[in-house]
């Protein structure tokens, strides 16, 4: 039987995983997803095999998502019914995604799966990331940061469709929507999660722009979907005996600190800020993939082979850009939180002064 590599964990490994977990957790608490795309490569950099890194990542994801969802539910952000229904279809999507990855691995090897993952990253992040960032820019340009949530034309159309026997009311949408619309969206979320580890990059924008869910509720409800997927995914990988619970709990140690910060942060910001952070992270991660692709093409002999030092430099730049994506998101969240708290404090002081008068 193939031997699974469970690494010796050093103090440096613990510190790094805690820190990356904290930052990833903060981003997850705020936009509903994130961190996973850095955590898996971070673990692999420490010498963890790909499958153990993915499995351990998923094992940390569901408890993190649970804590985040419980916290954001206190603020009224979570649509539990929507999260569970989409989560169910996301599980099926995860199975399909895992099956596709296994097929590609048998045909083209590990490098083939890496190239496949990068192509999916680019396709999804280019379309969705640029759209979200453009939306945030339009809000900023029009000065409508404080405007109440308005569903897109597509979402209004979806809400207007009545298919007997399939309709369900969702509080976040404030309307009845056919479950048939949730099937492909949930499925795509799960398939993406199994492929690039971040289903929320499709799930959250889909809820906002296709179903008409307010941004804050979409990012919170995504945590429910992530929990459902995480439990299912962990069971599958645990059955295979490839979950390194030590790594998962070290990351969780940091991410649970972070997710609380991100969750609290959402109560001080408007929808615009959540879209901005999501867009920034997605576009930066998209940019990072371009540095990995030449290496994969070289290893598959689809281009002239590159020398090792060139490959090393490209990978380093790609990894650094990934880290930058997460750090940029985290910094934006912290700045927004601190600004929001300061503004809130001055508003409260002003109100109290008026009451005294």
């Amino acid at each position: 039987m193939e031997s699974i590599l469970f690494i010796e964990i050093t103090a440096f490994d613990v510190a790094m995983l805690f820190l990356v977990g904290f930052i990833g957790g903060m981003v997850s608490g705020f936009i509903g997803s994130g961190g996973a795309f850095v955590l898996t490569p971070a673990m692999m950099t420490l010498g963890v095999s790909g499958i153990v890194a993915v499995a351990s990542n998923i094992c940390h994801k569901f408890p993190k998502a649970l804590v985040g969802a419980v916290k954001r539910n206190k603020y009224g952000h979570v649509d539990l019914k929507l999260g569970l229904v989409m989560g169910l279809f996301a599980e099926l999507g995860m199975l399909a995604g895992k099956h596709a990855m296994t097929g590609i691995k048998h045909q083209y090897g590990e490098v083939g799966t890496s190239l496949y993952v990068s192509v999916i990253f680019i396709a999804v992040l280019a379309i969705v990331g640029i759209y979200v960032l453009r939306d945030a820019y339009e809000i900023h340009r029009s000065g409508t940061h404080d405007a109440p949530h308005e569903a897109t034309r597509l979402a209004r159309w979806v809400q207007s469709i009545h298919i007997p026997g399939t309709m369900m009311h969702f509080k976040s949408i404030g309307a009845r929507v056919s479950v048939l619309f949730l099937v492909p969206l949930g499925f795509a979320t799960g398939m993406l999660a199994a492929t690039i580890a971040v289903g929320g990059f499709v799930g959250v924008p889909a809820m906002i722009y296709i179903l008409g869910v307010p941004t804050l509720m979409a990012s919170a409800t995504e945590l429910v979907i992530a929990f459902v997927m995480g439990v299912g995914g962990t069971m599958l990988y645990a059955w295979e005996g490839v979950v390194d619970i030590r790594l998962a709990m070290i990351i969780l140690c940091g991410s649970l600190f972070g997710i609380q910060v991100g969750a609290v942060g959402t109560t001080y910001v408007k929808e615009f800020t959540v879209k901005l952070v999501m867009g920034i992270i997605m576009v930066t991660v998209l940019f990072s993939r371009f540095f990995y692709i030449p290496g994969y093409l070289s290893q598959l002999r689809m281009i002239d082979p590159l020398n090792d030092s060139t490959l090393g430099i490209l990978k380093l730049i790609g990894d650094a850009t990934l880290a930058l994506a997460l750090i940029a998101g985290a910094v934006t969240i912290l700045v927004s939180l601190l600004r929001g708290m300061a503004l809130h404090k001055s508003q409260q002081a002003h109100l109290e002064a008026e009451l005294v008068e």
Partner: protein, 84 residues
């Protein structure tokens, strides 16, 4: 530094339990790796261990981290509700 004494007391309690859990995890690391290897090799008796452990940590450490930030004054904005 401490803004909420009640939260600080709860943070201390859950923090202590969390420390105990992580200490047990540290000293049980070899056994947990052995269980994973055994599961991979076909003995599925302890396959559920990671899931149970993760749930336990999520409850205890989740409570600790929540009270930790509350004790330092990081709380939701007043009247935090859904954005609708």
């Amino acid at each position: 530094m401490i803004r909420d004494a009640a939260a600080a007391r709860k943070a201390a309690l859950y923090g202590l339990i969390s420390c105990v859990l992580y200490t047990v995890l540290f000293f049980s690391a070899d056994r947990l790796v052995a269980w994973a290897r055994a599961t991979h090799d076909g003995d599925k008796l302890f396959f559920f261990a990671p899931i149970v452990i993760a749930f336990a940590f999520s409850y205890v450490h989740g409570a600790f981290t929540g009270y930790f930030w509350e004790a330092l004054g990081l709380k939701a904005a007043n009247g935090a509700t859904s954005s609708k």
